[in-house]
C-alpha cells in the first residue's frame, strides 16, 4: 500500500459504509467543491444518528498533509473490524481490549470526515506537492497564481483579523488572494469545504469533541488559538469588542477566557492522546494550546469551541488540532508508523472523552407520558425515560408536578426523581421517573404536566401527560362440571358425597362474581351439555344471570352411568364462551373428580384451548390424571388445583379453591383467608390490611351456617360497619347465600362521615348462644360441631399490589424439585426490598413446613423443595410488605404440585371403549378413500351416515359406572 489518491479515499469511504451497514453510516456532504467533487463522511457506531454524543474528526484540510486521510480511514477500518469481531486492537506497544473497543463505540459515535479538501489533495499529489489551499479560482481574477483559499483560515472565528488582533501580533493569516498559502477568503464560510464542515457539525448536534488532523510538529493542540488562555476574567473574550486590537500578543494583558473546567477537560484529553500515542513506539508529542507564540484566526478548533459562546443554542464542542509527524509527506514506511501512533492516540482520546468532564449528556427519550386505557379505579404507572451518559453523578429532580390540568383522576409521583452515582464509564444508562395515574371515571380523559430539571446540565424538561380511562374489564367465565357416576362417591367429609361438596363450593363462584362479568354452566359425563349459555351476572341481590347460574349448579346432578369425557366438556364450554360477546377476557373453570376415559379426550380438543383455563381436581393423583389436566391449563394463564383426599377438616377446601380461582379469573388478589371455629365466647377480630392501592375489596365469610354469625367490619379509625345498618354508609354492599356472606367495598368507604381506606381493618365475628345451639343441633350434636361454628374469612382486593405465584416442577415423579416462584408488583413496578414471601408447604405425607423465599431480582422471590412421597403438595404463598407510601399489605395464593410414580409416563387416557374407538378410526380411514365412497354412493349408501352411526355406537358402549 502507498498513499491513497483522491478517488481511493472516496471509494474506500463508501465501501466501508457498505461493508458495515449496521455500524457505519455514510454521510454525503451537500456542498460540492469548485472542481465538482462530492465528499463523504462516516458515522461509526451502533444506534441511530443523534442517539449518542459524538467525536468528530476531520482530515485532509491542507492539501499537502497527505497522511491525514490515511489516519482517518485506518481508524475507521480498525474500529469497525474490532468492534464487529469483538476483538482487541494493538498498535506497537499500545493495546486496547475488546471490551474497550466495545465500550468506545457503545458510548460515543465517531464522525469521520476523511478528506475535506479533495481538489487540493489532487493538485498536491499530481502537480504541486507543497500546495496547501483548496483550488477555488473565484477570487483569482483569472490569475492562475492566485487560486485557492486556506480552508483553516475560513471559519467564522475572529475572521476580521485586522480589527480583532493587535497590530504586529504576527497573526498567521492573509487577506491577499494571491498569498500562496494562507489567504482566508472573502468571508467566513465562503468555501464549500468549510460549509461542509459546518453542515456536518449542525447535522450532528451532539458533537462534543472536534479534532482537526494536520501536520506537522508532533503536537496536540487545544483551545485557544488567538491568544494565551486565562480562566479568571470571563468578560475578556473574543466576542467583546472592547478588546479589539489587543489580541494575539503573548505576555500582555489580553488573554482569551476559557472556563477553568473546560481548560481542565481539554488538557486532560490532550494529555490522554499524547500518552496513548507515546505508548506505541515512544514518540513524545506535546500537548499545548493552539496559541503557540503566534496567533491564528478563522481556524476550525477555535470556531467549534466558540460556537456555544456566540450562540447559546449550540452545544459546547471542545476543539483540538493534531499536528502529526515531522514533515508533510513522510516516506510511506514512516507514514504507516505515524498512522499507528495517531490511531492509538485517537482511540485513547475517544475512550477518555465521555468522562473527561464528568458529565456527557442527558436526553429525554419519552417526550410525552401516555396512560392508555386505564381501567376505572386502577392506579398504574408510566415512566419518563431519560438516557444519561455521564461519569459524574447525575440528578433528575421533579421541580413541578405531576400536575393535572384537565379531566378526572389524579397523577402521582410514587418514587420521586432519579439519580445516578458517579461511574467509571459513560456508557448510556436509562433513568426512569415513574408517574402514577389513578383512573376514576370511565370514558374520561385527563391531561397533566411534569417538569424535570437536571442541575448538573441545567436542562429543564417539560413533559406533557395524557390519560384516558375505560370501564373495568369484564370476564366471561364458564363452569365446566363433572357429573360422571363417581360424583356420587363419598367425599371424605362426613355425610357428603362429592356432588354435595361441589354443590357447596361452586355457588360461591357465582355469588361473588362482579356484576358485569358473565357466567355460563356446562355439565359433562361421556357427553357434554350446555346448562346455561354465558349471561351477565347482574346485581348481587337480583341479577338474572347470577340466579340462573345458581340454579344450573343446583340442577347439576350425578349421572350414575356416566363416564368422563373432559374433552367434550371443554369443547362445549369453549363454544359457549365463543358465542358470547362484549367481554374483555374469558376463563374456563373445569371441575372433575376422575380420570378421563371417554372420547373426546383433552388431547382431542387441545386446539380449542384459547381461554384461560383453571382446573380443579377432586381426588388424589391416582384418581385424577394431573398430566392431562396440566396440559389443559399450561400456558393459558390459569392453573391446576388438586384437593387430594378430603377429610373432616377440609370442609372449606373446595369452596376456597373456587373462591381463589374466581379472584384469579377476575384479576383480584387474595389478602387473607384464615379458618377457624367460633363458639359463643364473645367477639373475635380478624385483622386485614387495606392499602391505598386497593380500589375494591370483598370481605367474605364462608361457613356452612353463615346465619349463625354476627358479621361486622371495623375501619382503621374504629368505625363499625354492620350490614343491618348500612344507612349513611357509602361504598358498601352486602349479600348472602347458603354458604357465604360478604361485604363488597368500593374505596374509599365512608362510614360515620369519615372516609376509610388504607390501614388495618378488622372482621368482627360473634356467635350468639342461640345460634350456636341451633348449629350444634343441625349437626346432630357432633363433637366437631361443639367446637364451634366453622368459618373461613377471605378478603379479596382489586388492587395495584399484585402477587403472581407459580409452582414449577422439574418432573412429575417423586424426587422432582418444586420451584416456588412469586412475583410482587405495585403499579406494575417490582416491589423491591419492601416485602417478604414465605410458603407454607403441606407435603403429600401430611407434614407442613415454612419455606422462606429469597428475593432473586427486584420483586421476584424464589425457593425450592425436593419432593419425596407421591401425592399433592399444597403451596400456600404468603407475602407481606409495605406499599410505596408505607402502608402494610399482605397477599396470599394457593398452588399445588403433584408427583406420583407414573407421573412422567402416565398410562394413556383411554376408556374401555378403546377397541370401539380404534374401529371408528379405522372406519374413518377406510371411508376417506374416494373410490370406496363412490362405490358406496353408487349403491345408494351414505358414507357419512355410516361414520356417524358408528361413532354413536361407540359412545353408548363406553358408559361405565
Amino acid at each position: 500500500m502507498t498513499y491513497l489518491n483522491v478517488d481511493e479515499v472516496e471509494t474506500a469511504t463508501v465501501n466501508l459504509a457498505a461493508a458495515y451497514p449496521s455500524l457505519c453510516q455514510l454521510v454525503t456532504l451537500p456542498f460540492t467543491t469548485s472542481e465538482a467533487r462530492t465528499s463523504h463522511a462516516l458515522r461509526l457506531g451502533p444506534g441511530v444518528a443523534g442517539s449518542k454524543d459524538a467525536v468528530m474528526i476531520i482530515c485532509g484540510v491542507h492539501a499537502r498533509e497527505w497522511g491525514s486521510c490515511e489516519i482517518a480511514l485506518n481508524l475507521a477500518t480498525d474500529l469497525l473490524e474490532a468492534f464487529a469481531g469483538n476483538l482487541g486492537l494493538t498498535y506497537g506497544g499500545k493495546s486496547f481490549t475488546a471490551a474497550q473497543i466495545q465500550s468506545l463505540l457503545n458510548t460515543v459515535h465517531v464522525v469521520l470526515f476523511p478528506l475535506v479538501n479533495p481538489d487540493g489533495r489532487h493538485y498536491s499529489q499530481n502537480v504541486d506537492s507543497m500546495w496547501r489551499k483548496n483550488r477555488n479560482p473565484a477570487y483569482s481574477g483569472g490569475n492562475p497564481s492566485c487560486v485557492g483559499v486556506d480552508i483553516n483560515r475560513n471559519y467564522d472565528f475572529l475572521f476580521d483579523f485586522t480589527t480583532a488582533y493587535a497590530p504586529g501580533s504576527g497573526v498567521v493569516v492573509s487577506s491577499n488572494p494571491c498569498d500562496y498559502q494562507i489567504y482566508h477568503g472573502p468571508s467566513a464560510f465562503s468555501e464549500a469545504e468549510t460549509q461542509n464542515v459546518k453542515w456536518l457539525l449542525d447535522s450532528f448536534p451532539r458533537t462534543r469533541w472536534f479534532i482537526d488532523v494536520h501536520s506537522y510538529s508532533q503536537d496536540m493542540l487545544y483551545n485557544w488559538g488567538d491568544d494565551e488562555d486565562q480562566t479568571t476574567n470571563a468578560a475578556m473574550n473574543f466576542m467583546n469588542p472592547a478588546f479589539d486590537g489587543q489580541r494575539g500578543i503573548s505576555g500582555d494583558a489580553y488573554r482569551e477566557y476559557i472556563h477553568a473546567d473546560d481548560l481542565a477537560v481539554v488538557q486532560s484529553l490532550s494529555g490522554r492522546f499524547v500518552t496513548d500515542l507515546q505508548a506505541v513506539r515512544g514518540k513524545a508529542y506535546i500537548s499545548k494550546s493552539s496559541y503557540d507564540l503566534y496567533p491564528t484566526s478563522g481556524a476550525s478548533d477555535d470556531y467549534v469551541y466558540a460556537r456555544h459562546r456566540a450562540d447559546p443554542s449550540k452545544a459546547k464542542v471542545y476543539g483540538f488540532t493534531i499536528e502529526w509527524g515531522t514533515e508533510f509527506q513522510p516516506a510511506w514506511a514512516e507514514m504507516q508508523n505515524i498512522i499507528k501512533d495517531v490511531s492509538a492516540g485517537l482511540i485513547g482520546f475517544c475512550l477518555a472523552a465521555p468522562c473527561a468532564n464528568g458529565l456527557s449528556a442527558v436526553g429525554l427519550d419519552t417526550p410525552t407520558i401516555n396512560f392508555q386505557n386505564v381501567p376505572e379505579g386502577v392506579t398504574t404507572t408510566r415512566a419518563a425515560v431519560f438516557s444519561v451518559q455521564s461519569c459524574a453523578a447525575v440528578d433528575l429532580n421533579v421541580t413541578s408536578g405531576p400536575t393535572k390540568l384537565t379531566g378526572p383522576g389524579s397523577f402521582g409521583l410514587p418514587l420521586g426523581g432519579a439519580s445516578f452515582p458517579a461511574a467509571d464509564s459513560a456508557l448510556e444508562r436509562d433513568a426512569r421517573i415513574w408517574v402514577s395515574y389513578t383512573a376514576t371515571n370511565a370514558a374520561a380523559s385527563a391531561t397533566g404536566t411534569m417538569t424535570v430539571t437536571c442541575p448538573q446540565t441545567g436542562q429543564t424538561f417539560v413533559i406533557p401527560i395524557t390519560a384516558n380511562t375505560i370501564p373495568q374489564p369484564t370476564v366471561a367465565s364458564c363452569l365446566v362440571l363433572d357429573q360422571s357416576g363417581s360424583m356420587d362417591d363419598p367425599s371424605g367429609i362426613l355425610n357428603k358425597k362429592r356432588i354435595d361438596v361441589l354443590h357447596d363450593a361452586a355457588p360461591s363462584f357465582v355469588s361473588l362474581l362482579p356484576d358485569n362479568d358473565g357466567i355460563g354452566v356446562v355439565s359433562f359425563d361421556q357427553d357434554a351439555y350446555l346448562r346455561m349459555g354465558i349471561m351477565t351476572a347482574g346485581s348481587l341481590s337480583s341479577g338474572l344471570g347470577r340466579a340462573l347460574a345458581g340454579a344450573a349448579i343446583t340442577n347439576h346432578v350425578t349421572n350414575p352411568m356416566g363416564t368422563t369425557s373432559i374433552g367434550d366438556g371443554v369443547e362445549v364450554g369453549h363454544n359457549a364462551i365463543a358465542a358470547a360477546s362484549g367481554y374483555d377476557s374469558t376463563a374456563l373453570i373445569v371441575f372433575t373428580d376422575g380420570e378421563e376415559n371417554t372420547y373426546k379426550f383433552i388431547s382431542d380438543v387441545q386446539s380449542l384451548i384459547n381461554n384461560r383455563v383453571f382446573a380443579v381436581g377432586l381426588g388424589t393423583v391416582n384418581e385424577v390424571n394431573p398430566v392431562a389436566l396440566n396440559h389443559l391449563v399450561n400456558n393459558t394463564g390459569g392453573y391446576l388445583l388438586l384437593t387430594d383426599n378430603l377429610g373432616q377438616s377440609d370442609v372449606f377446601k373446595l369452596q376456597k379453591y373456587f373462591v381463589q380461582i374466581l379472584a384469579s379469573a377476575t384479576n383480584a388478589d387474595v389478602v387473607v383467608d384464615p379458618d377457624g371455629f367460633l363458639a359463643p365466647v364473645g367477639e373475635i377480630k380478624i385483622p386485614f390490611d387495606i392499602t391505598e392501592s386497593d380500589y375494591t375489596a370483598d370481605v367474605v365469610l364462608l361457613s356452612p351456617a353463615p346465619w349463625a354469625f354476627a358479621f361486622q367490619l371495623e375501619t382503621p379509625t374504629g368505625t363499625r360497619i354492620d350490614h343491618n345498618a348500612l344507612g349513611g354508609v357509602a361504598g358498601v354492599k352486602f349479600n348472602q347465600s347458603a354458604n357465604l356472606i360478604f361485604y363488597r367495598l368500593a374505596f374509599p368507604v365512608v362510614a360515620a362521615a369519615v372516609p376509610a381506606q388504607a390501614g388495618r381493618w378488622y372482621i368482627v365475628l360473634k356467635v350468639s348462644a342461640g345460634a350456636y345451639k341451633e348449629y350444634v343441633t343441625s349437626q346432630r350434636g357432633s363433637d366437631q360441631a361443639k367446637a364451634g361454628v366453622p368459618y373461613s374469612a377471605v378478603v379479596h382486593a382489586r388492587s395495584s399490589v399484585n402477587l403472581d405465584a407459580h409452582v414449577l416442577q422439574s418432573s412429575y415423579v417423586p424426587g422432582a424439585v418444586l420451584k416456588l416462584h412469586a412475583v410482587l408488583t405495585e403499579m406494575d413496578l417490582p416491589v423491591e426490598k419492601r416485602a417478604s414471601v414465605r410458603v407454607e408447604l403441606r407435603r403429600a405425607d401430611g407434614t407442613t413446613s415454612w419455606i422462606p423465599l429469597t428475593e432473586q431480582d427486584p420483586g421476584v422471590f424464589e425457593g425450592s423443595v425436593v419432593t419425596s412421597a407421591a401425592g399433592v403438595y399444597t403451596a400456600h404463598f404468603r407475602a407481606k410488605g409495605s406499599t410505596l407510601r408505607g402502608y402494610p399489605f399482605s397477599r396470599e395464593q394457593l398452588r399445588t404440585g403433584l408427583v406420583w410414580t407414573q407421573g412422567d409416563n402416565p398410562p394413556p387416557t383411554r376408556g374401555k371403549d378403546d377397541c370401539c374407538q380404534d374401529w371408528a378410526t379405522f372406519l374413518r380411514c377406510l371411508l376417506s378413500d374416494e373410490s370406496l365412497r363412490q362405490l358406496l354412493a353408487r349403491n345408494h349408501l351414505d358414507a357419512r351416515a355410516i361414520e356417524k352411526c358408528f361413532a354413536q355406537v361407540c359412545k353408548q358402549s363406553s358408559k361405565v359406572g
Binding site: 500500500m1 489518491n5 499529489q125 499530481n126 504541486d128 506537492s129 492562475p144 504576527g170 507564540l293
Partner: protein
C-alpha cells in the same frame, strides 16, 4: 455570424519551488517578520533566548524573509522531496470493482490483549 471562440486560458504557471526554511530570532523579531510577511508556521520551539520556527515558502519569497534580528537558513527543497513522494501515491483506484476496503494497521487479537 458565429461568435468567435473565447481565447484559451493562459497556461498555468509551473508550481513554485518551495523551500523548507528555518528562522531563528527573538520572539519580537519573528513576530514582526510574521506581521510583515504572514506565513504558516509549521514548527515552533524555544532555544535559550531565541525562538526557532520552520516555515515553507516559495523560493522567490526567501529574500523577503530577511529581517533585522532573524537568521534565515534554507533547509531543503521541499518541492523536490514532494515530487519524490508523488511516486508513492496510488495509481488508479485500488478499492474499485469489488467493494474492497482498506486493511487496518492495528493487530486485532481475539478478546484483546491478555
Amino acid at each position: 455570424m458565429a461568435n468567435a471562440a473565447p481565447p484559451p486560458p493562459p497556461p498555468p504557471p509551473p508550481p513554485p519551488k518551495v523551500l523548507s526554511v528555518k528562522i531563528t530570532g527573538s520572539d519580537t523579531a519573528i513576530r514582526e517578520l510574521l506581521t510583515r510577511h504572514p506565513m504558516p508556521v509549521e514548527s515552533t520551539r524555544r532555544e535559550r533566548d531565541s525562538v526557532v520556527i520552520e516555515v515553507f515558502v516559495p523560493e522567490d519569497e526567501v529574500k523577503q524573509l530577511e529581517h533585522p534580528g532573524v537568521a534565515v537558513q534554507v533547509l531543503f527543497d521541499a518541492s523536490a522531496r514532494g515530487r519524490e513522494r508523488q511516486a508513492e501515491v496510488g495509481k488508479g483506484n485500488r478499492f474499485a470493482g469489488e467493494q474492497r476496503i482498506p486493511k487496518g494497521l492495528g493487530d486485532k487479537p481475539k478478546g484483546g490483549p491478555q
